[in-house]
Symmetry: C2
DNA sequence: CTCCGATGTTGGATTGCGTCCAAGAATACA
DNA sequence: TGTATTCTTGGACGCAATCCAACATCGGAG
């Protein structure tokens, strides 16, 4: 699942480096005042390269979550148990740029953008969960509602986990608790 | 709730006219190939004026729903019963540009944009519903999950209603059914 | 060792969204 | 007729995102 490239020019940067540079700048200047050029300049690559790593400026914060989410979607399509696939999102999700952005959302002027991106990701999950439920025999409308609850549980758990100043609690615990109420 | 302006220059267009022009163009050329200038040109106003009516290109389809949604949010803040406030979104929601866009999403090349906008609106609702639930004494995490279900119910109902080719069923009926399963 | 294919990088150009503003036009009212 | 108010318009601007051709750097095959 890991080793990919065998030949060709090596990458001049990485998602992590770019995300780190972006976070610094968001804290210093705010999200809106930070252009993609600013990020790549600090990371030491050209603006064009940014879009080799991310497909949009906002995605820079979501790299880790998206990877986990896509893995969960893959399992859902293989008709694995729903709650199991969703709970697995929590495992292996490190406190990265996203967690930092959530706790410092207002300081970064990120509230609006973060809402948008969260909404999109939650809905993506909802769609996949609902499709899985329909495949399992559920009525489409009901499936959307129940899937909406589960998807909301995932994102709400991530937020609660990031916002825990010292409340402790692993993401996995929060996530299973949230999923249990769905 | 209606009569507003007393003096000043009268408006040269309206949300409805712009939405209609936009729908025509989306059908003819697709969403991406249709610029804001295209829309305003057909509607007979200048590009600048567009943003006096909508705050973004995508909002052109959501005018009716947003009005209903904002009304529901207002009632939620007044601590009205949740399901009642949400069900009221269905009343007075006419089959407008949004319904047309939903049924012709692929023909208009709208799938991606429509997903984004739907996600954002669903999440806006979820946030307000959850806040209302927390005010009512619910635990924040649980509230997000239940609110996620209710918000999903609203949007799913609108989609089911728009997609009904001839399945009949009023939006209100579909909506109450969806909310009942939340 | 050299050539070759594959992979990444870079700068530049392009398009269109969204914002801002100053100037002007059209209304109600005194 | 003036005046305040509301809206329109054109122009300019910054920036996100896309596209592309030229170039750089790797591994491997001959």
């Amino acid at each position: 699942m890991a080793s990919e490239s065998r030949s060709g020019r090596p990458r001049a940067s990485s998602r992590e480096v770019l995300a780190e540079a972006a976070c610094e700048l968001f804290l210093e200047q705010g999200y809106d005042a930070t252009s993609v050029s600013d990020i790549t300049r600090r990371a030491g690559v050209s603006r064009s390269s940014f879009f080799n790593y991310f497909s949009a400026k906002g995605d820079v914060l979501w790299s880790g979550f998206d990877a986990q989410s896509e893995e969960a979607v893959r399992r859902l399509r293989d008709d694995v148990a729903i709650d199991g696939a969703l709970a697995a999102i929590g495992e292996g999700l490190a406190p990265d740029a996203l967690a930092l952005a959530i706790t410092n959302a207002e300081a970064m002027g990120l509230a609006a953008e973060l809402d948008r991106d969260r909404a999109v990701r939650q809905f993506r999950l909802q769609r996949e969960i609902a499709a899985r439920m329909v495949r399992g025999g559920a009525a489409p409308l009901i499936a959307q509602v129940r899937a909406g609850a589960s998807a909301a549980a995932v994102l709400a758990a991530v937020w609660a986990w990031a916002d825990r100043t010292a409340s402790g609690g692993s993401l996995t615990d929060i996530l299973t608790e949230a999923l249990a109420s769905a």
